[in-house]
C-alpha cells in the first residue's frame, strides 16, 4: 500500500507541472495525446466530469503550437488530436446546426472525450491501488522454509514364476550346448545310386515285378522306404526312356510294375 507514491512518482511529476512550465517538457514525456490531455485537464483543478472541453482544447492547441515553435518533433497522433480538437472547438462555438443524419452533436463528442479522460484516470488510480496492494514476498510472505513432500517409490516387481522358469530353462539349455538348431537330415537314396543298382539288375528282373520289390532291402522301412521308392521310380522312368525297361500301371495309385526288355528269358516268355 505504501508503495503507491514510489511507483507512480512519474505520474505525479507530470501532473503537478504548471502549464507554462510544461512547454519545456518534451512531448515524449507523455504517453500519447490522451495522456497529455489528461495532464492538462488535471491542471484545471476541477472534477474531470465537469471540465471545460473548450478550455482544454485551447490548452492543447497552445501546447502543440509551442512545441512546433521549438521545432519539437511531434508524433502524428498528436497532430491528429490537435486537428480533431480544433474541429470540436469550432463546433462547440458555432450555433448547433440541425442534427445531420445521426452524426454526434458537439456536446456528445465533448461528453465522450470527458468520459475517456475519466476512464483513463480511473484506470490509473486502479493501477496504483493494485500495485500498492499487498504483494507476495514484498508485503506479505509465504513460508520461508517450506517442507517439501517426500516422494517414496514403492518398488514392486512384475517378474512371475513363468519368467523365472523361462529364464532358467533357456539359460541352462543354452549353456549345455543343446540350444543350437541342427536340422535332422532325412535319409535319401540318390537317383544315380538307384539307377546304377537297376542297371546292374537288368536281365535278372522278374517279369512285371512290383516297384516295391525292386528297392534295396535296407531301404524298405520308414522314411528310408519313401526315398528309395521315389528314387527307384525315377530311375525306372529314365531306363524306360532308354528303352531298357517297360512300366505299367493299371489305374492311378495302383501298383506300378516293371518289366525287363533286355533279358532274353523275358522275351521268350512274352
Amino acid at each position: 500500500m505504501s508503495d503507491a507514491g514510489e511507483n507512480f512518482g512519474d505520474f505525479e511529476a507530470t501532473a503537478v507541472a504548471a502549464p507554462e512550465e510544461m512547454l519545456f517538457v518534451a512531448v515524449d514525456g507523455f504517453e500519447g495525446p490522451l495522456d497529455l490531455l489528461l495532464t492538462l485537464a488535471r491542471n484545471q483543478k476541477v472534477d474531470i466530469a465537469k471540465i471545460s472541453i473548450l478550455k482544454l482544447a485551447d490548452q492543447y492547441l497552445e501546447f502543440i503550437e509551442s512545441a512546433k515553435k521549438m521545432n519539437l518533433e511531434l508524433a502524428a497522433d498528436y497532430l491528429v488530436m490537435a486537428a480533431w480538437l480544433a474541429y470540436l472547438k469550432s463546433r462547440l462555438i458555432l450555433p448547433q446546426p440541425p442534427n445531420a443524419d445521426g452524426e454526434p452533436t458537439a456536446d456528445e463528442m465533448a461528453t465522450r472525450l470527458r468520459w475517456r479522460l475519466q476512464r483513463l484516470e480511473a484506470m490509473r488510480q486502479a493501477a496504483a491501488r493494485l500495485m500498492g496492494g499487498d504483494r507476495l514476498q514484498r508485503d506479505v510472505f509465504s513460508r520461508g522454509d517450506p517442507e517439501p513432500i517426500n516422494v517414496i517409490k514403492l518398488r514392486t516387481y512384475k517378474d512371475s514364476l513363468y519368467d523365472l522358469l523361462t529364464a532358467y530353462a533357456t539359460q541352462r539349455v543354452k549353456k549345455m550346448g543343446g540350444k543350437t538348431y541342427r536340422p535332422v537330415h532325412a535319409p535319401v537314396l540318390a537317383i544315380e545310386e538307384a539307377r546304377e543298382r537297376l542297371e546292374r539288375m537288368l536281365g535278372r528282373i522278374a517279369d512285371w515285378s512290383g516297384l516295391e520289390r525292386l528297392i534295396p532291402f535296407e531301404w524298405s522301412g520308414g522314411t528310408r522306404r519313401r526315398s528309395a521308392l521315389a528314387s527307384t521310380l525315377l530311375a525306372c522312368l529314365e531306363l524306360a526312356r532308354d528303352g531298357k525297361v517297360e512300366i505299367r500301371q493299371m489305374a492311378p495309385f495302383e501298383e506300378i510294375f516293371v518289366r525287363d526288355r533286355v533279358a532274353p528269358t523275358a522275351e521268350a516268355m512274352s
Binding site: 511507483n7 504517453e31 500519447g32 495525446p33 490522451l34 490531455l37 480511473a122 493501477a127 496492494g133
Partner: protein, 239 residues
C-alpha cells in the same frame, strides 16, 4: 507455561465440549484441523480444496476446516488467505514493515506495463485494440511481452469479431502475487463497474463486461500453438 497458552491448549484438545456461554462447539475434527494446518504450512504453493482433500482422511470437511483455521489465525502474525481460489498461509499484511527489509528489489515494471496490466485485469477479456483505446496510445511491442513473461498475463481466447483478435486476461500467478481470491476481488472493481468505466466501448448501456475468467459470450477459447507470440505482439487485432 502461561495461563493463556495452557487454556488454549486445553480448549483445543477438548473440542466439542460445552463452553461457558452455552454454545456447543461445532464439530470440526481436531485431528483433521492439525493435518490441514500442517499441510498448508509445509506447502510452498497455495493448495486448493482438491489437493487438501486427497491428503486428508476421507470424508474430512475441508471447507469447514479451512474456515475454522482462517478464523483461528485471523488475529495472528500469520494468516490463512485464499488466493486464486487456493489457500495459503502468509504473514499478516500489517507486519510488512517488519519483514520488508533485506528483500531483493522486485523487477520494476514500466508505467505503460503497469497501466496495461491494470487494464487487462479490470477489463478482461480484452483485446489489444481495446487496451490501446483506453490508453489512447499504441501498445509498444515489449509491453505485453513483459507481462506475459512475468506470467501475470495470458492469452485467453479470441473475440468473435472480424479479424478474431486474441483476448488477454490475468493468470493465477497474478492473483497469487497480488493476494486476490479471484478477479472479482480486484480493489475497487465494484465502484469502477458502477461508474461504467469497465463497460465496453462505446458506453452504450448494454454489453457490460465483468472481469471474469470465464469465456465471454463473444469469445472463443485460445488454441495453443496458433502462432501465439505473433498474435500477442501485433496480430490481426491491430487493424
Amino acid at each position: 507455561m502461561s495461563g493463556v497458552a495452557r487454556l488454549v491448549a486445553k480448549i483445543e484438545t477438548e473440542m466439542g465440549v460445552e463452553v461457558e456461554n452455552g454454545d456447543t462447539v461445532e464439530g470440526v475434527n481436531p485431528e483433521h484441523l492439525r493435518m490441514t494446518e500442517a499441510l498448508l504450512f509445509a506447502a510452498s504453493e497455495p493448495l486448493d480444496l482438491k489437493a487438501l482433500a486427497t491428503s486428508l482422511p476421507e470424508g474430512a470437511d475441508v471447507a469447514g476446516l479451512l474456515s475454522e483455521l482462517q478464523q483461528i489465525y485471523e488475529a495472528r502474525g500469520v494468516n490463512l488467505v485464499c488466493v486464486a481460489g487456493k489457500w495459503q498461509f502468509r504473514t499478516a499484511s500489517d507486519l510488512a514493515f517488519l519483514l520488508r527489509k533485506e528483500q531483493p528489489e522486485q523487477r520494476r515494471l514500466s508505467r505503460a506495463a503497469i497501466e496495461t496490466l491494470a487494464i487487462i485485469a479490470y477489463h478482461q477479456p480484452v483485446t489489444r485494440a481495446e487496451i490501446e483505446d483506453i490508453r489512447g496510445v499504441m501498445l509498444s511491442k515489449g509491453t505485453l511481452d513483459v507481462l506475459m513473461e512475468v506470467g501475470w498475463v495470458k492469452i485467453r481466447g479470441r473475440k468473435r469479431t472480424p479479424g478474431r483478435p486474441v483476448t488477454f486476461g490475468t493468470s493465477d500467478a497474478f492473483l497469487i502475487q497480488f493476494g486476490l481470491e479471484s478477479v472479482n476481488h480486484l480493489p475497487g472493481v465494484d465502484e469502477l463497474k458502477a461508474a461504467g468505466f469497465l463497460e465496453a466501448i462505446p458506453p452504450s448501456g448494454f454489453d457490460v463486461p465483468n472481469p471474469t475468467d470465464e469465456l465471454g459470450p463473444d469469445e472463443d477459447p485460445f488454441i495453443e500453438g496458433e502462432d501465439e507470440l505473433d498474435l500477442a505482439t501485433g496480430g490481426p487485432d491491430l487493424s
